[in-house]
């Protein structure tokens, strides 16, 4: 009986630890390695940045704020983490969404339009991120 109780407690602690560690995982961390490696076919294309900005305002800004500057219902997208993310990872998140956290898959936008949004997010004119408070 005591052994069963100990085993049960260990399993509960393990699940709690997994839950805590999972809470810190962002959508970008869940991207499969193969998807991360996909290159952006529109990288460095100024027209793609402009088109991506337009698409962002039309489809994404309602949750991620105009210009990607502030957090509304979705996370702010002007962070270093997003700007430095592999384009393939951003493309994968836009395509698949984060359904459990309320972001729908945006596969209804044709693939080139999703790449245009990625180009805007990684190469668009965005203000520098706000300084973080010292620990």
């Amino acid at each position: 009986m005591r052994n069963r109780l100990a085993a049960g407690t260990s399993i509960a602690i393990l699940f709690a630890a997994l839950a805590v560690s999972a809470a810190g995982i962002t959508a970008l961390d869940r991207v499969p390695p193969k998807a991360r490696l996909r290159p952006n076919p529109l990288e460095g294309n100024p027209a793609a940045v402009a088109a991506g900005a337009k698409l962002f305002e039309q489809h994404c800004a309602v949750c991620h704020a105009p210009g990607a500057k502030n957090r509304l219902r979705g996370p702010a997208l002007d962070s270093i983490q997003v700007r430095d993310a592999p384009p393939g990872a951003l493309f994968w998140v836009i395509t698949n969404g984060v359904v459990r956290r309320g972001m729908p898959p945006w596969s209804k936008l044709p693939e080139p339009q999703r790449w245009q949004i990625v180009t805007f997010l990684t190469g668009g004119e965005m203000p520098p991120p706000a300084p973080r408070p010292a620990p």
Partner: protein, 287 residues
């Protein structure tokens, strides 16, 4: 209360729409969470041996979550040389079965219909539905009400800008001892351009999505098959305007003698983003 909803619609910003062009077929793309889409559609149909009709309907489509869209319909129709009648309501729910995007994306569709025998919107063709069913005058057809449970398995795939969707249909009349009825819808569509132009524009090619859909009945559990069923082939077009409005149009052609010769459909829709969050904030909830 309806006034408050109208006010919220006015305050909620329109979302850049990317609406499917289909009228009958469903793809796997659901409404964005918190968004309300107000849609007005109409079907004009020719009637072999009878009077043509126009059947308008209103849809209120709401994205409850990223995996659940719920929709409420109000149906009506006018039959020429007869009358104009309200024909009932429908409550539809669509549930995304798998998170993320897959080669084939399944969505479960469940709808309750409370419609009279005079309903003519032809949103789906089921069982042994044939054009001659519509010969009954509105006065007598409107006297009985059908309570139906309608289910579809939406299977949809996006590939290189094309959408392919197939919807097998299963219908049960809850108020009668009728057998299950079956039907189908299938469609393919594509935007006229896959890349967006950098400027905001009304007539850019990427704003237009064209396609074709086919739908019809497949008999019942007691008589499955094509005899005494109707079938339609319909080119479809959606024009997504930057203001958030979408214009829909379709001309359907009956494929056999049991079908209506012509079904001309058109519609207008507008999506209001953040409607649910504004409503929640209005009642003290978390915006």
């Amino acid at each position: 209360m309806p006034g408050a909803a109208v006010l919220l619609c006015a305050l909620a910003p329109p979302l850049g729409a990317q609406e499917s062009p289909y009228f009958v077929t469903y793809d796997h793309h659901l409404e964005e969470p918190g968004s309300l889409e107000v849609e007005y559609f109409s079907t004009f149909g020719t009637q072999p041996g009878g009077n043509a009709f126009i059947a308008p309907w209103l849809e209120l489509e709401y994205g409850a979550t990223a995996w659940w869209t719920t929709e409420f319909y109000l149906d009506s129709q006018t039959t020429f040389h007869d009358s104009t009648v309200f024909t009932g309501f429908r409550w539809e729910n669509r549930f995304r079965l798998l998170a993320g995007e897959h080669r084939v994306n399944p969505v479960l569709y469940v709808e309750y219909e409370n419609i009279t025998g005079a309903d003519k919107i032809l949103k789906e063709i089921e069982g042994n539905d044939v054009a001659s069913d519509f010969l009954e005058p509105n006065g007598s057809a409107g006297r009985y009400t059908n309570h139906e449970l309608e289910m579809k398995l939406i299977l949809s795939s996006d590939w290189k800008g094309w959408n392919f969707a197939v919807n097998p249909l299963f219908v049960k009349n809850l108020g009668a001892n009728d057998p299950w009825e079956f039907g189908y819808a299938a469609g393919v569509s594509r935007p006229l351009a896959l890349e967006a132009s950098p400027r905001r524009c009304m007539f850019c090619r990427e704003n237009f999505i064209a396609g074709v859909e086919m739908y019809g009945g497949l008999g019942t559990a007691g008589s499955f098959g094509l005899p005494s069923t109707s079938h339609y082939l319909a080119p479809v077009l959606a024009w997504n305007l930057p203001s958030g409005w979408t214009v829909h149009a379709s001309t359907g052609f009956g494929l056999n003698s049991d079908s209506h010769g012509l079904l001309v459909r058109w519609g207008l829709s507008r999506e209001f983003s953040g409607f649910g969050h504004m409503l929640s904030a209005m009642f003290g909830g978390k915006p």
